[in-house]
């Protein structure tokens, strides 16, 4: 008598009949039918104008819009990540003024709509016509006209970047707090300073927690950049809007934008998978996410008696 014949390496010689999942088959067939019907209607509805989509997919104004979208995403996320790390480390500082300033920053930028912040940075040129860098109430080292300094692109990336820094700081802080206090202690006991402990010991471990939500933030930022069209900066969505304002091919041009957003997002998924795998070094469980996704399609031999956690 064996009590658990499914266990690998067991001593049973009896034939094992694996559980059949009939419900899964039925739901899969229904979904495939629905998908086929959807595709058929999309392809055969002339309103979607697939030929128009094809002809505009790579026009120069769409591609330059895509370029602006990607540049904005990169610059805003760079500001967001660097700013987020600085704010998170400030929040954890023993100095209450430093911690309080970071808290106020986060409170302000999370508490107001990002659209408002975009408009604010755009119009701030009117509020401060000249910008100077120097010691407050003392000598000035640098002097510029804000109207020329704050271009639409600068206003857009500042607004998106500073807003992002507020969100990223919470993500980074959660990551730092997830690292065991024994790690700080061990590093300090070896003579590493607080800054080196943070940079070389704590942050690399916090990355495992920080990377997945940061991936979400980047993908979300890619799409949030569309908001800068309010200051007439023509990123991807703004560029197609300008085209369909002239030729009224609204749906095909929105599809053009959607295709590009999906393409860039898909590339980001793959990049995220490799970054996650890199930062899970020394961890027993390897990166989930995309690997798990691919693995769930892996073909397993039928009738196999191997048990495996999915």
């Amino acid at each position: 008598m064996t009590l658990s014949p499914q266990i690998e390496g067991s001593y049973t010689t009896e034939q094992v009949i694996p559980l059949r999942h009939y419900g899964r088959w039925i739901s899969a067939v229904l979904l495939l039918l629905a998908l086929a019907a959807g595709i058929w209607s999309v392809v055969h509805n002339s309103g979607f104008g697939w030929s128009v989509v094809g002809s505009y997919l790579t026009t120069s104004s769409v591609l330059s819009g895509l370029g602006v979208t990607m540049e904005l995403t990169v610059v805003a996320m760079a500001i967001g990540i660097v700013g987020g790390i600085v704010l998170a480390v400030m929040r954890l500082s023993p100095n209450p003024i430093v911690g309080g300033s970071a808290w106020s920053f986060v409170w302000f930028f999370r508490g107001t709509p990002v659209l408002l912040q975009i408009l604010f940075w755009y119009y701030i040129a009117a509020l401060y016509p000249t910008l100077s860098i120097g010691i407050p109430f003392g000598p000035t080292f640098f002097h510029a006209n804000a109207n020329t300094l704050i271009t639409k692109f600068v206003a857009g990336s500042l607004a998106l970047g500073l807003n992002e820094a507020a969100y990223m700081s919470e993500i980074v802080r959660a990551g730092i707090l997830s690292v065991d206090s024994g790690q700080h202690e061990a590093a300090h006991a070896l003579g590493l300073t607080r800054a080196k402990t943070m940079r070389r010991i704590v942050l690399p471990q916090a990355m495992r927690i920080i990377i997945p939500p940061t991936g979400n933030e980047i993908i979300s930022m890619l799409k949030t950049t569309a908001l800068v069209s309010v200051i007439a900066l023509s990123e991807l969505l703004g560029a197609v809007q300008q085209i369909y304002a002239r030729n009224y091919q609204t749906i095909p041009l929105l599809i053009v934008a959607a295709i590009w957003y999906l393409t860039v997002t898909s590339v980001l998924y793959v990049v995220q998978f490799f970054i996650e795998r890199h930062f899970s070094r020394g961890q027993r469980a390897t990166a989930r996410g995309l690997g798990h996704f691919f693995q769930s399609f892996a073909i397993r031999p039928r009738g196999s008696t191997r048990t495996r956690a999915l």
Binding site: D180, G182, Q183, E185, A186, A187, H188, A189, L190, G191, L192, T193, R194, K196, R200, I201, P204, Q205, F279, R281, G282, Q283, R284
Partner: protein
């Protein structure tokens, strides 16, 4: 007992006088006075919560003391003598003073994102600014000495508890400390792995390392310790040779504790 003023006495590595430490309203250390001389092995016994870890952490300034004085190698921990007064040290100076003190933790605290080799050479390279080649060569010598020559590329998660603790000891030794602090180094280990860690510690003691070991391994204390102290509720209840404290305890609390762990 030797007096600190005696010119031919070995110099004290650690000298604690009336050390006090409180967390909020509770006083955890209520005036600890003791001295550890060069080459001496001191074992600290005592029930959980008696302040043993806190005292070790005060010695390398992971905790700041609230009263009394604590000197390591003739320097006040966390302070410098400055024109007849004590000046609080900067963070960087505290970090530098910790270099001479190695610490081994109950839960190993290896850096999980670094290989065994990188765990060991991290501080020699980034604190002592040793050339990587030299740090690696030293690390290999240390790993060979603890029987882990072939595991330098492993990550901590791939090692057993006993192996991890031996790496942690090598990591501390890589800084060439004058004093080693052990905080229950075998308490988190499966019983069959305790021996391999204790034998590394025993060899270190034989080589003349000054050591303070918080431990529940009575047999180890009896064999290796030059002196044993028994701590309870933040005070040193009993001090003496292993023979005195473990085999002939005078204090009732010591007797009760030993009866339980024996």
């Amino acid at each position: 007992m030797t007096s600190p003023l005696d010119p031919i006495a070995p110099s004290p590595v650690v000298s604690a006088r009336e050390v006090r430490k409180r967390f909020g309203p509770t006083e955890v250390l209520k005036g600890i006075t003791l001295e550890v001389t060069e080459g001496e092995v001191l074992c600290i016994l005592g029930p959980s919560g008696s302040g043993k870890s806190t005292f070790l952490r005060c010695i390398n300034h992971l905790e700041k003391i609230d009263g009394g004085s604590l000197e390591v190698n003739g320097e006040f921990v966390g302070y410098a003598r400055h024109r007849g007064a004590l000046r609080e040290l900067r963070e960087r100076e505290i970090a530098r003073n910790r270099v001479g003190i190695g610490m081994v933790f109950q839960r190993f605290n290896l850096f999980p994102h670094l290989t065994v080799m990188d765990n060991i050479i991290e501080a020699p390279i980034h604190v002592l600014h040793q050339p990587p080649k030299q740090a690696q060569a030293h690390a290999r010598t240390l790993l060979a000495a603890v029987g882990l020559a072939d595991r330098e590329n492993a990550y901590p998660s791939e090692l057993s508890g006993g192996q991890q603790q031996r790496v942690a000891i090598s990591r501390a030794l890589a800084m060439r400390p004058q004093l080693m602090l052990f905080d229950e180094p075998t308490s988190a280990l499966d019983p069959e792995l305790v021996g391999e860690v204790l034998s590394v510690m025993r060899r270190l003691a034989e080589e003349g390392m000054t050591m303070i070991c918080v431990t529940h391994e009575i047999a180890f204390a009896r064999e290796v310790a030059d002196r044993v102290i028994f701590m309870d509720e933040g005070v040193v209840v009993e001090v003496g040779t292993a023979h005195d404290v473990i085999d002939h305890p005078q204090n009732e609390r010591t007797q009760l504790f030993l009866a339980r762990v024996h």
